[in-house]
Symmetry: C2
Subunit: 143 residues, 2 copies
DNA sequence: CTGGCTGCAAAGACTTTGCAAGGCT
DNA sequence: AGCCTTGCAAAGTCTTTGCAGCCAG
């Protein structure tokens, strides 16, 4: 994620016909600097830490625009929705700590053929999938 | 799910030291009669359809008690949390329709060995997992 | 009986919306 | 310049809580 540079991101916005604003760039930078998924509140807090004062409604509205344009992605978790940069073509596989709720991204997918199995066994047409692994992260295991 | 009878359910409650009340039995019956997962509003509506007038707060409070006792289970979805009877020892694998949001339960798990792979490749301790397949259900494919 | 459960109403948390002012292209 | 975006405040939605009365054990 860290490899995304601001120019690439701003071009993405322009291409989709959305304006490139400081607010959007700041939100994308926060998500880009983070290896885990962030809630709206966490994004808001990290912006403030960087002395970027942004209204909550602006954060919400921009995340809506970014998700609509598949630049970011909203994912539901037991403790609320979280956001990350959109993984083009990739699946959403996560490691979720049951203690601190930190959510890491698992870049590993062993399940491509599962869709085929479902297709042949049910009447459901599978398109995307999402795998979440719950357990304890390194830090919380030590406690 | 349909096989669960009321006596079994009420004994489960008693065993956990929770009172067996009409409200709890009614909620459990709604979930038991359903092959998919239900939101709080859907549970409330189905109760009303059966002429059972129950306060929203009672639905919330009882779902909290039932989930705490692992009799029901709360699962986060993009369009909000949903509930189902707890699958003892089973995983949570779902087929979620991108059109009508109906959520079916998939009783098939090809991934038991995935945990082992994660254990050997990361510092995360995997305990439970959840797989969601998004696509179109039979009805919505026809539209 | 007695403590937990229920309904009601109100508060709380999170998210969305309307409007005027400001900024991007 | 024109339209989209922003901040602010207010409204909406979903969920939780306090309290008085009720019910299961």
């Amino acid at each position: 994620m860290k490899t995304d540079n601001p120019d690439k991101i701003s071009e993405l916005l322009r291409k989709k016909g959305e304006k490139v604003t400081p607010a959007r760039m700041a939100i994308l930078e926060v998500l880009s600097d983070c290896s885990c998924l962030l809630s709206v509140a966490e994004i808001y807090d990290r912006l403030r830490e960087q002395n970027i004062k942004m209204n909550y409604s602006t954060v919400y509205r921009n995340l809506e625009v970014l998700c609509r344009n598949k630049i970011t992605e909203k994912i539901a978790f037991p403790d609320g929705a979280k956001f990350k940069l959109f993984d083009e073509g990739k699946h959403t596989h996560h490691l979720i700590c049951k203690s601190c709720h930190r959510t890491e991204i698992l870049s590993y997918c062993p399940f491509e053929d599962v869709k085929k199995i479902i297709k042949s066994n049910t009447n459901f047409l599978p398109l995307e999938h999402k795998l979440e692994i719950y357990g304890y992260c390194e830090k919380c295991q030590k406690k």
